[in-house]
């Protein structure tokens, strides 16, 4: 098998476009969902609301304990049986978003618990309303501490987007597989996929490490 530069040049733009327009867009949307949902879950768990908090903990445990492909197949193939029809891309965003929300919630929890007890006591002593305590004191301090770990989760989420090819989302790896199937050449498309992922993940993780060092010393 010899590397065909001509063929590689032909398919590179197609794969890059698939990465930017599908894989990355799904990663960004799922990240936003995970960030918001994870926060809600973390606050609910931390607030120790009877019934709701244990239920949330149980749900998070369940999400983390089952593989992403099973969750994808379930939402995409099983839910339509009870009349819930969701498009492949939205399914991908939902499943990845909810899955990572469970990790994000864990990271948030760590961030919240890292806030010294004295900060909470100062809030009590100043009669700050609960909303203000979270919005103005706890979360702004927690975010600085957790940004690096959140970033690393986003990077690993980007690498799990190819699971979506199981439900025919046209992300980059699915397209590489199709190109391979049509041309009987798999070397170039999958190599290019790997290179594009590397070109994304490596600088991103270096950036995260730098951010981590900066926030620690700030």
């Amino acid at each position: 098998m010899i590397w065909d530069w001509q063929f590689a040049r032909e398919i590179f733009p197609i794969l890059l476009r698939a990465f930017l327009q599908v894989s990355l867009v799904i990663t960004v949307l799922a990240t936003l969902l995970a960030a918001a949902l994870g926060l809600v879950m973390a606050v609910i768990r931390y607030s120790k609301v009877p019934v709701v908090s244990p239920t949330t903990s149980g749900f998070l445990q369940f999400i983390r304990a089952t593989p992403i492909p099973v969750q994808l197949f379930f939402v995409f193939y099983v839910l339509p049986d009870i009349g819930v029809l969701i498009s492949a891309v939205v399914t991908g965003v939902l499943v990845l978003g909810i899955h990572y929300a469970s990790y994000f919630a864990e990271v948030y929890r760590g961030g919240i618990e890292s806030i010294p007890k004295g900060q909470w006591e100062a809030c009590t002593a100043l009669s700050l309303p609960v909303r203000t305590i979270w919005q103005r004191v706890v979360l702004p301090q927690a975010v600085r501490k957790i940004l690096p770990s959140l970033g690393n989760y986003v990077i690993s989420m980007a690498k799990e987007v190819p699971f979506l090819l199981f439900i025919s989302v046209p992300e980059m790896v699915a397209q590489a597989k199709d190109i391979g199937g049509a041309s009987f050449r798999y070397l170039e498309p999958f190599t290019i996929c790997g290179v594009i992922y590397l070109a994304f993940s490596y600088p991103a993780s270096v950036l995260m490490r730098k951010l981590e060092i900066r926030l620690e010393t700030a």
Binding site: E121, A122, L126, S127, P129
Partner: protein, 270 residues
Amino acid sequence: MKQLKDDPVNGASTDRPFIHFDKVVKRYGELTVLDHLDIDIAAGEKVTLIGPSGSGKTTILRLLMTLESLTEGYIWVDGKPLWHKYNGTELVPADQKHLREMRKQIGMVFQHFNLFPNMTVLQNVIEAPIRSLGQSRDLAVARAKELLNHVGLSAKEDAHPNQLSGGQQQRVAIARALAMSPRVLLLDEVTSALDPELVAGVLAVLRELAETTDITMLCVTHEMGFARDVSDRVMMFDKGQIVEEGPPRQIFEAPEHDRTKGFLSAVLAH
């Protein structure tokens, strides 16, 4: 101006002391920190709590600030139960709403300052008046600047706490507590975490506060000179009980109880 004890405006405080501990018990599991403690404090009174560590004096402040919950007994502030509310004529444990209301008249300064590190000095001071008392931003800022000027930190209002010395941070924390215009100020070993050369600046601010306002002050401290100068009354604690109390002159110059004598000689020795 000292507040008159029979001030008709504060009607409730005429028949009861301003702060009243009624058989207060605080237990942590098996450990009894306060054992059926009774304390009366008049409005405007400056009281210093002294005693060995673990004697329960900090717990008294923390119960008043509602940072720790009461095991048994009642605490009254200005004629109202702090930890309870009336259900008909019966006293039942208070809800969060009641606690939040009661807290507004009480302020606290902590040993480790507990400033909000993500906010500037000015933001630290205006946050509670705006969010908790509903003051307008303009009013809160004007008052905060006045208070910061008073504690000698006008130049630092845009600084973040980590850019300040411990003494400066503690003076900001005092301004932050005062911005709520509390009627009671609790001072919990406010100079213990400071380098010796920074203690004087903080004490000067508190001395002036004690002399010029009618704010009720409860102070846990190891600064005996400060205690002697500003307090109306000193309470010596040991094992969750008041061993001896009286005017500072009496406690420091003619202590009667052996525990007090022992404690004072140990503290004043260094």
